[in-house]
Symmetry: C3
Subunit: 250 residues, 3 copies
């Protein structure tokens, strides 16, 4: 089964995503298209990167991921096709593909820009055609020249504290208002945020409705949440807010 | 053809839905995934239940519906897999699956929680794997112990009036601002809402542009609408607003 | 491969689109459903028409497009099924299908309304069943009587200026705040909007971050944009704003 996923910041109402889908299905009519999201905040490469980190490896080997959050379209940034862990991805060379590129043995080629490609819409004229080629059996080497100089973005890492804890920050806020941090947790200790101290618990059921808590989220990072409500709203904070983990709270 | 539908309140931008889709397609690569909605208001079990009521039986026999609006994730609420009318559904035991459970001969099992499942993300670690098992031919009895104590939610029913009419309320407001009530209509009588009296008409074309009307909606319930505009905005009302049907208006 | 696309203004949270999908897959279980958008502004026929213009011909021959932005549902407007350029479309006779109807040799039939169809929901009870018939091999002539009187909408055309330029307007604003105009460009000249003069450049990379520019967009129409930001916000303008192209600026 041929699978292609799509992640963009295009919204859907203007028909741009639809144009890409038409190109994909015209070239690979039996492929199943899987929408990831088209609601990434406009030109928010980092939000797209964090989403991509979550899902790219969950899909079957052979899946082709299109990731088109591309504020640099029409500039000199390269267009990439990559292979990592048996999955493929196409997208701009702006760091959005980093989660797959940072895996050992990941490989990347620089796509050439087809003659006549609209300089404002590489999603339709560069990335969708490249995805079609991958879906229909082309190898990376047929599609461009190997490149070893792709842009890489990493989330800032938390710093070790003398007490064995960590100083970090909020990386993202999800739709529920949960604060995803860069603190890595084993499920114990105390999280400090905005002057509040929160014991790390196992799950929402460990606190009462409406109470704030810290726990290890579904990707192994500590999260701050309010059971049944929004921690972001309760604290009035967002991306970048400092947060720390104390192993030995005073 | 294997079909799996997805209804959540996750939004799509954070990548959670994408993780679920990856699990589904890794386990059942030939399944077609059908997005129902990921824009259910956060933790609004009732809105999800009303949407589910509309579509679950419209899909072919054998379809597996995933319904993950789950404010109780990480608490003691059960995880369910059910069969009703030849369709399957997986989701939390919070009443969201009631439309299918209330059908005679519906059957439900309590899913066991896989070792290592993230306590905050049963959509990915409990419900998607259960859906994969159903898609790949497992029977309900293989997946857990029969349970007869599932949470059931029903929309409040309208009350009969001495004049043969009904006293009810607005159950939901749709994107068009139509007010869906719990009044059951045959297409005659007069609807009273906020002091206004509206003759029940057959369709929008029976009134002028901009005029308010009442009619029998696409599920047999009376709706209050404004032709070409929003009744919710015109009246400033929402869920729970009292509304009545008079058979014999004075 | 059977393909059906869906464009509506229903949103997804109410379950209406899901009902349509259930009807489609019950009748044509092997069809792949492709979401175009359900976020068209409510009853905005023109926005839907512009989106439809972008994608309808990008899909493979044989694709069935459902387009249900239908403020006239329940009035006397006709329901159409059309064939154009090998693609099919079903939708209301309100001009939304014009991009396909305006192609030479396009053909249209007036669909009869099935007995019992909800007068408020032709998407489910008229258009989805018609799409199923097309997907399963029916010909247009089996589905209704030929009609040659379909509503047609065209975007206003820019007017020639004595200097060889054009006077036009903003047709649409996309999610990025780009202003899509009805000026047809070859990539030279100067665009005037709100008293500003913008040299037409080739692509975003030709100006600095934050600078306003004009360029030929991905459909051959001139667009006004701000690199890395929103021209709509910068200028405080929207659909209908006058804009002109000067070939020989003073």
């Amino acid at each position: 089964m041929l699978l292609a996923t799509l992640l963009t910041d295009f919204g859907t109402a203007d028909g741009y995503v639809a144009e890409m889908k038409g190109v994909l299905l015209s070239g690979a009519p039996t492929a199943q298209l899987v929408d990831i999201s088209h609601d990434i905040p406009v030109q928010d490469v980092d939000a797209a990167r964090l989403a991509f980190a979550r899902y790219w490896r969950r899909f079957p080997v052979g899946t082709v991921h299109l990731v088109v959050v591309d504020p640099g379209v029409g500039t000199r940034r390269k267009a990439l096709a990559i292979e990592s862990n048996g999955r493929f991805a196409v997208g701009p060379d702006n760091g959005v593909l980093s989660p797959a590129l940072l895996v050992p043995d990941a490989r990347a080629v620089e796509l050439s820009i087809p003659h006549g490609a609209a300089p404002t819409f590489h999603g339709r004229d560069v990335f969708a055609p490249a995805a079609v080629r991958l879906l229909t059996g082309a190898s990376l080497e047929e599609m461009g020249a190997w490149t070893s100089e792709a842009a890489l973005l990493r989330s800032p890492e938390a710093q070790r504290r003398p007490d064995g804890g960590q100083d970090g920050m909020v990386l993202a806020v999800d739709r529920f208002g949960n604060l995803i941090t860069n603190l890595t947790g084993r499920g114990d200790g105390v999280v400090e945020i905005q002057g509040r101290l929160l014991r790390v618990v196992h799950t929402y059921g460990d606190v009462a409705e409406g109470e704030m808590l810290a726990l290890v989220g579904s990707h192994g990072l500590l999260e701050v949440a309010v059971r049944g409500s929004s921690a972001a709203r309760a604290l009035g904070v967002g991306r970048g807010t400092p947060v720390s983990l104390r192993r030995d709270p005073s």
